[in-house]
């Protein structure tokens, strides 16, 4: 009997402890700022954004609908012995499902970056806080002579373009587009078609796989993907003669600097659906804040052109260029 009493006492003890405790995963809120700017080599218009952090009432951030843009900040970038001051402006927001106000950003349209130059940033916020960063613009890239120039390339079922760079381990993003004209009711419209690396069959459907930024110094396009892209230009239209394909394909490689490379890498994706990871690396090179201050340099490869017989086989016209 005394044992029964002991057991009952133990059970009562643990039942008292069994009430659920409330759990609040939030720590003390500290306002932070996120600055984003990727300087470009191929145009003068440089843009940047500046947002403050926020905390919604619950845990769904989409319930927070106050525009977090920070206005009246003094943004300065030092480049090539000059300082460039950014102005704030806004454009009409395309998606107003969350924020109703225009999309705000800062810009400067007086410079574009060159290769291997130091750029420095200082942001003076209206509340007196400062964000700082610096970077080194990417090196020039050169295309190798062994890159393919004709599409198709002999009997090969792929097109390969190879380049070199002084930078090691940086990311590059190749992009190939087919330029063509379409005759729409007698009016010529100039269009482009982005070419995927290859197509994958998923659930009975063919899905294009486009290049993503990575450290490889070469890219290989499957010739079937190029053929498929050419087919898609006039898909469903029996009048193939309304389409004229330019002899030269547009191909470019964007080279990123180190901070942008790291930033892209950190936002790359998930491990798998089963692994539960509670902390995720959040890369930033903004001292005192979040975001990215980086740059890219774009280089075009002008040697790549279609073989006329290949275009003719689709029933398209062929536009010869010098």
């Amino acid at each position: 009997m005394k044992y029964c009493k002991l057991i009952v006492l133990i059970l009562l003890f643990v039942l008292v402890l069994s009430c659920d405790e409330s759990f609040n995963p939030y720590g003390d809120f500290v306002e932070r700022y996120a600055f984003n700017c990727i300087l470009k080599s191929d145009e003068n218009l440089q843009t940047a954004t500046l947002f403050r952090s926020y905390r919604p009432d619950g845990f769904d951030p989409f319930t927070y609908t106050t525009d977090p843009s920070v206005f009246n900040a003094d943004i300065r970038i030092w480049y090539d012995d000059s300082v460039f001051v950014f102005k704030d402006t806004s454009v009409v927001r395309q998606d107003t499902s969350r924020y109703k106000t225009p999309f705000s950003f800062y810009y400067n349209n007086q410079f574009q970056i060159g290769n291997r130059k130091t750029v420095e940033l200082e942001v003076l916020l209206p509340n007196g806080r400062r964000l700082r960063s610096s970077s080194f613009t990417p090196s020039k890239i050169d295309f190798e002579d062994r890159s393919d120039v004709l599409v198709p390339s002999g009997n090969n079922n792929f097109i390969q373009i190879i380049w070199t760079s002084f930078d090691d381990g940086m990311f590059f993003l190749p992009k190939m587009t087919i330029r063509y004209n379409q005759n729409v009711n007698g009016r010529i419209e100039e269009k482009t078609k982005l070419v995927p690396l290859r197509y994958l069959s998923q659930g009975g459907e063919s899905v294009p796989v486009f290049p993503t930024a990575n450290a490889s110094l070469t890219v290989v396009y499957n010739i079937n993907a190029i053929t498929r892209a050419l087919d898609e230009i006039s898909e469903g239209d029996p009048l193939k003669q309304n389409y004229s394909i330019y002899e030269n394909l547009s191909f470019s490689v964007t080279a990123y600097d180190l901070p942008t490379t790291k930033y892209i890498s950190s936002t790359g994706g998930s491990i798998d659906d089963l692994t539960v990871s509670v902390d995720v690396a959040d890369y930033t090179n903004i001292e005192g804040g979040f975001g990215l201050f980086g740059s890219y340099s774009k280089k075009k490869y002008n040697q790549l052109r279609f073989f006329q017989n290949y275009i003719d086989s689709f029933g398209y016209n062929f536009i010869v260029e010098n």
């Binding site: 643990v14 995963p25 939030y26 932070r32 996120a34 926020y54 930024a213 692994t275 990215l292 890219y296």
Partner: protein, 746 residues
């Protein structure tokens, strides 16, 4: 016989050298030696007591059932009592001849299932000077009685031991005294298992039905063990029934399993198999997700012992295969596969003089693979091939002192390849060999003092920094009062095989093993342990143990690896210390155990110190086992730990995702993103739960049945597992769960 003579010649040659200078001290004494086995099946009974009342002297059997009582005054007859938990104590009369070894093999008869009680005759005296600080011995009977979370599991039982912690109900992965999960050595018949888990870490691959005994060192382990920093689990499997053929079958909500055993000429065999057949019950563990987990494990063991070939020798061949597959049967979903294969050969030799030796040859392989199919995942693959030859021998002197010597040659071929998020392929491959030797002296001549002092020496290492390294270790016991003993241990430990496991993953599917890359030094640990064992009353044992552990060059996954040039691993440091209290009171029909641990663990990388995910300040267990009689056994386990660390959520900001930077920064590239506070500075609410179990054993005709029912988390405590910052949802651990098992034995 000639062949036998040839093989044992080197050892016979060594013996006189080892005994040089000792024999002159020999008195007119004799020795008693033998094996203690179960009378029904011939299985060795490990750690049972063999005791001579008249002399108040005795010994306990080792993990293979062998004992030796030294320096018994000769020329007379003694009454020798042999006792073991769950067996009828046997007393035999033995005449001890001068300077001879008297062989006394004993078969103990198990108590009937209705009358099983706990007997510990002479235990107090036998334990006088045993250097066994931080060593836990676990019998299969203990495993069977405790509540089962779907399956009986040895790893989950470990979590009741003070100093051992886990991060949740979902994983059986354990952490010992502030050490990482890959710092635990798991040996099955002396062979290393690299991935000892089924079902994403839910269960151990070692089926409890195949186990004879388990030794678990949670620190301060002596020189014969190598390769890990924190703990050693040494599992010895059963030999198989030497008397008759037997068949066992068991079912749980998750698996079905079977065991066949029986005698062969001059030996025995055992074959076991276990297969998952239904994983609906696992939804409770995985937040109601359906995961198509499929696994099996198979093992066999064959023993052979014939006086015609080798006198006093025993040979065993062993094999073990475990295989896991998560296949969604959907080309758009990834597939996970991992498997362990172990094969081993063992030669145990007992010589005429008090010397034992063991030669082991083994191959252990692990393969793990993530097959992306058409999902967006990247392929990952890990292969490890571990070939080991080791030879150990033990000499016992007349004055009860012992010498242990051993040599181990290990070659490891490890391959790890993966493609990261942005398509960069990386590969770490290495083939290396480790030749190590150890020697130790066990000073046991004084009844109230025991010392085990020795060192390992790594002649060559798997890594460039692992060769020419000593690992000295000392363990001692001083019984300063008849009922109280002071115990202490100190040692240096080296680890060169590591897992590339991300600490932020609380459920991890893929944990590849690699040889430590050359850009970081092999990990090193220093253990300091001290404690007191108290046996004031019969049946009551209290132990208090303190520890301090330093970890150096522990590899930590670089969460700031963003480019190819960044290293995968960074060298970190660790420190842990704490106090462990354990009280056990056994009086028929109760067995009551209570434990409490007060501990601290820290890690440091890049100058930043944080609490590892398994750091808990207070942890405790209360276990009550009650033999109700008539084959009914009840048990209750209450488990408590103060909150585990987690990284607090601070707020959100609109993060730029550069899907297409060539269009410039625009409004569509921003997605709300949570930002966190300092790593692991927050604490989850305290964890506690109560589990109950009821077992009924009965015999119908020639068939033994065991029916078990377990109620897990009886009061449905909502223990927080983690906070999912993507969904804003708090994910809890296991809710109330009722499980059952049925065992049939013919």
């Amino acid at each position: 016989m000639r062949f036998s003579f040839f093989l044992t010649l080197p050892i016979k040659f060594l013996i006189p050298i080892i005994f040089l200078g000792i024999s002159t001290f020999a008195q007119q004494t004799g020795n008693i030696r033998g094996f203690v086995v179960d009378s029904t099946n011939g299985e060795a009974l490990a750690f049972c007591n063999v005791f001579i009342n008249e002399l108040s002297a005795g010994a306990s059997t080792n993990e293979r059932g062998l004992y030796l009582i030294k320096s018994i005054p000769s020329g007379k007859e003694y009454a020798v009592s042999i006792s073991y938990v769950g067996y009828r104590t046997k007393t035999l009369q033995v005449f001890v001849r001068p300077e001879k070894v008297t062989q006394l093999d004993v078969q103990l008869v198990p108590l009937s299932i209705e009358l099983q009680t706990i007997e510990k005759v002479g235990e107090k005296i036998i334990r006088e000077n045993r250097t066994d600080i931080s060593l836990e011995r676990i019998s299969v009977k203990e495993l069977e009685i405790l509540p089962k979370g779907v399956e009986t599991d040895i790893f989950r039982t470990l979590q009741f031991i003070p100093g051992v912690s886990a991060t949740g109900d979902v994983t059986a992965k354990y952490y010992v005294r502030g050490g990482g999960g890959d710092q635990n050595l798991i040996l099955l018949n002396g062979i290393e298992i690299y991935n000892p888990f089924h079902s994403l870490g839910l269960f151990s691959v070692i089926d409890p039905d195949m186990i004879n005994n388990i030794e678990f060192y949670k620190g301060g382990f002596t020189s014969e063990y190598s390769g890990r920093l924190s703990s050693v689990m040494d599992v010895i499997s059963k030999d198989g029934n030497k008397n008759r053929f037997g068949l066992k079958g068991a079912m749980s909500f998750l698996t079905a399993k079977g065991l066949i055993e029986g005698p062969i000429p001059n030996g025995s065999f055992m074959i076991t198999g276990r297969k998952s057949y239904n994983n609906d019950v696992l939804k409770k563990f995985f937040d109601e997700q359906t995961i198509p987990i499929d696994f099996y494990d198979l093992s066999f063991k064959v023993n052979y012992s014939s006086e015609d070939i080798f006198e006093n020798a025993k040979f065993a061949a062993f094999g073990f295969i475990s295989n896991d597959d998560i296949d969604y049967k959907d080309p758009l979903r990834e597939r996970f596969k991992w498997k362990n294969n172990l094969y081993g050969f063992e030669w145990l030799q007992v010589y005429d003089v008090p010397l034992f030796s063991r030669l082991g040859i083994s191959l252990s392989t692990f393969e793990g693979e993530v097959i992306p199919n058409l999902s967006s995942l990247k392929p990952r693959k890990n292969e490890v091939q571990d070939f080991t030859i080791n030879f150990d021998m033990n000499v016992v002197y007349e004055n009860r002192d012992e010498i242990g010597l051993g040599i181990k040659l290990k070659t490891i071929d490890s391959k790890f390849s993966q493609t990261n998020f942005v398509g960069i392929e990386s590969s770490i491959e290495k083939f290396a060999g480790n030749l190590s030797i150890y020697g130790k002296y066990k000073f046991l001549r004084w009844k109230n003092f025991g010392l085990d002092a020795g060192t390992r020496f790594n002649v060559t290492g798997l890594t460039s920094g692992g060769g020419g390294v000593f690992e000295p270790r000392v363990s001692l016991t001083y019984r300063f009062l008849p009922w109280a003993a002071f115990k202490a241990a100190w040692g240096i430990y080296l680890q060169e095989m590591i897992t590339v496991s991300d600490e932020s993953e609380i459920i991890s599917v893929f944990e590849p093993w690699i040889i430590t890359p050359d850009y970081i030094k092999p990990s090193k640990a220093i253990h300091y342990n001290a404690g007191i064992d108290i046996n004031v009353l019969r049946g009551l044992q209290i132990s208090v143990e303190g520890y301090y552990k330093l970890l150096q060059d522990i590899p930590i996954v670089n969460d700031q690896k963003f480019t190819v040039a960044d290293p995968d691993l960074l060298p970190g440091k660790g420190e842990s210390y704490g106090w462990e209290f354990l009280a056990n009171y056994s009086v028929d029909p109760f067995n009551f155990t209570a434990s409490y641990t007060l501990s601290w663990a820290y890690k440091e990388v890049n100058g930043w110190t944080y609490y590892p995910k398994y750091d808990t300040r207070h942890a405790g267990n209360v276990i009550l086992e009650f033999n109700l009689g008539s084959g009914w056994i009840a048990s209750a386990v209450w488990n408590y730990s103060s909150g585990y660390p987690f990284t607090q959520l601070i707020g959100f900001y609109d993060k730029y995702f550069p899907n297409n930077t060539q269009n410039g920064i625009n409004e569509s590239g921003f997605i709300p993103y949570a930002y966190l506070g300092d790593k692991n500075l927050g604490r989850l609410p305290a964890y506690h739960r109560l589990d109950l179990s009821l077992i009924k054993r009965l015999r119908v005709l020639l068939v033994n049945f065991e029916l078990g029912v377990s109620a897990i988390n009886v009061y449905d405590r909502k223990n927080v597992f983690y906070f999912n910052r993507d969904t804003g949802k708090t994910v809890n651990m296991l809710p109330f769960l009722l499980t059952g098992t049925l065992k049939v034995e013919i």
